[in-house]
Amino acid sequence: MQNPYLPYPVRIDEIITETEDKNLKTFKFVFLNPEDEKKFAYKSGQFGELSVTGKGEIPIGIASSPTEKGFVKFTVNKVGLVSSFLHTMKVGDIMGIRGPLGNWYPWETMEGKNVVIIGGGFAFTTLRSSIIYMLDPANRSKFKDIHVIYGARSPGMLLYRDELAEWEKRDDINMHITVDGTDDPDWKYNVGFVPTITEQKAPSSDGETYAIICGPPIMIKFTQPVLDNLGYSHDQIIMSLENRMKCGIGMCGRCNIGKEFVCKDGPVFTLAELNNTPKEY
């Protein structure tokens, strides 16, 4: 019987401080046993439990893409017990990862469609994975137009700034980066909240477009009416939820919304599905 609670041992290979407030770091992990990397085969949208020995585990979205080999990446916000300790760890330290856990964005359903990615704050991690995945030469032709609307408080709070700049230069992805405000005279991109930029930049839905939204509740609340106006049906609005988790496999009983477990039946749900469940997230 395979023990679903047993983490794969990993070594921290690289740590990148992402944001100017230093509260977000990206950790690149390498599996100690190379065969574990194959067992960890994942899809964009899934998450893992990062196991910090002696402190506990935290569910974190997988920020690397299945098309990137030899490592896995996670971007972690410094919040409480486990994430704060993780922020003090060094390259070379040993810890564990369990997973991949949960479902993924509906890649099969979205084939042949336009995809609009809407992200806010640090909830951009599995969206990075998704963008890298779709832009991979083996996959790009599977999708029609790709739009990305991504906002943060200020330029220094955007994640993956080098990659954002590269994507801006490409012609097979439409980037709409925005900040709430900035005093940087060289800022080349948008200024405004995500819902506003969505209203201005997102394509209207002809039934052939899927929107994936991840961000703080307030952003989601104000973006949804915009998408309604643009004609998106609720089964074409895809969201990824967060709830406090422990087991990650639908057993410990805490992360449910109605009869669905965010860890196992989610974290990805369509808005149509969420309309039928209690709003306990």
Partner: protein, 354 residues
């Protein structure tokens, strides 16, 4: 099915023989209550009880259990790597578990033994166990097992059903595991008309159960409507969120995972948890999706009486043991809540505008 007659004077001898091949668990007196625990050498289970205060779930699902051990000492070869904790999954036998507690394991199994994931701790302990049930000749006033898919002589989940018939026990063999245990104890005299005797006792016991619940309407209710029903404030009003109801319940399975370090070594543990506690769902950001006690009380009842019903199509997540009713300090009664839910019609609550 075969029924064995066990003379009470052969009882202690048989158990002594069993203790060679099984770890024995049973009800014993614990202050003014009975509880289920592993029996010491030579200790006999005490059958002078109606039901144990806590359910027997800890036999398979301990209140705290080590999953892994680890070392934080960087001089050790496999420091910071989780290693399986030692486990004893040699055969164990529950002697005198109530049928409701044994049936509860079957409900809980659906949570821990799924097509996608298997909890090895629960499953290994469950599979190592033989359940010798003690039928209830005198159910309590709070028992409503017969309308919760169970009963005082219920056999599902048991390997042997014992019925107390005065000077002797009647032991109905339900599974091969049960048969083997009876043989190991040296109990092998077949009872005359054993099945008929048990049937008579069963009818008498069932007739003593007066409490009941109706559950027939639950599955057709709309989740969000039940969730928004106006009665939750009332139901939750007196609740202290003490968690007693969930700890004593044989069908409550929620747990937490915690690391406990002493010096440079430690264990990762699985411990009972409760949906009644605010910490159960508190996000690191401070946001809590079940931030009020109304949320938490509603979660407990919705889980048992709606989410479980919808998810498994197999009745309610409750065997009617009545413990939560007997032990709730403020008398919150699942039978009443079940009735509110089962009979709820949203139209009743809505204001009709003429």
């Amino acid at each position: 099915m075969k029924v064995i007659k066990i003379d009470k004077k052969d009882w202690a001898d048989g158990l002594a023989k069993l203790s060679g091949g099984y770890r024995l668990f049973g009800p014993v007196k614990d202050k003014e209550f009975h509880n289920f625990k592993e029996l010491d050498n030579g200790e006999l289970p005490d059958f002078d009880f109606s039901n144990t205060k806590l359910s027997a779930k800890s036999m398979v699902f301990p209140q705290a259990e080590a999953m892994f051990k680890y070392s934080l000492d960087e001089n050790e070869a496999d420091h910071h790597i989780m290693k399986e904790a030692e486990k004893d999954y040699s055969p164990r036998a529950a002697i005198g578990i109530r049928p409701c507690d044994a049936a509860a394991f079957l409900l809980v199994k659906k949570n821990f033994d799924t097509p996608e994931y298997k909890d090895p701790y629960w499953i290994n302990a469950y599979e190592a166990s033989v359940f010798v049930g003690l039928a209830c000749n005198n159910p309590c006033s709070t028992c409503f097992c017969t309308s919760a898919g169970c009963g005082p002589f219920h056999e599902d989940g048991l390997d042997v059903l014992l019925a107390d018939a005065g000077d002797y026990f009647l032991a109905k063999v339900i599974t091969d595991k049960g048969e083997k245990l009876l043989q190991a104890a040296g109990w092998n005299t077949e009872a005359d008309a054993g099945e008929d005797q048990i049937e008579t006792l069963k009818k008498e016991a069932e007739a003593k159960i007066t409490a009941s619940v109706n559950t027939d309407g639950l599955k057709d209710k709309i989740t969000t409507e039940l969730y928004d029903a106006p009665f939750w404030e009332d139901v939750a009003f007196a609740c202290l969120n003490c968690g007693t109801c969930t700890y004593v319940c044989p069908t409550c399975w929620c747990f937490d995972i915690q690391d406990e370090t002493h010096g440079t070594s430690g264990i990762r543990m699985k411990t009972w948890d409760s949906c009644m506690y605010p910490l159960f769902t508190l996000h690191g950001s401070g946001h809590n999706p079940r931030g009020t006690k109304v949320h938490r009380v509603r979660q407990r009842f919705m889980h048992k009486l709606k989410y479980y019903v919808d998810k498994y199509g197999d009745g309610i997540q409750c065997v009617g043991c009545g413990r939560c009713i007997r032990l709730c300090p403020v008398n919150i009664d699942i039978r009443k809540v079940c009735e509110l839910m089962n009979s709820y019609e949203p139209a009743d609550a809505a204001c009709q505008v003429a």
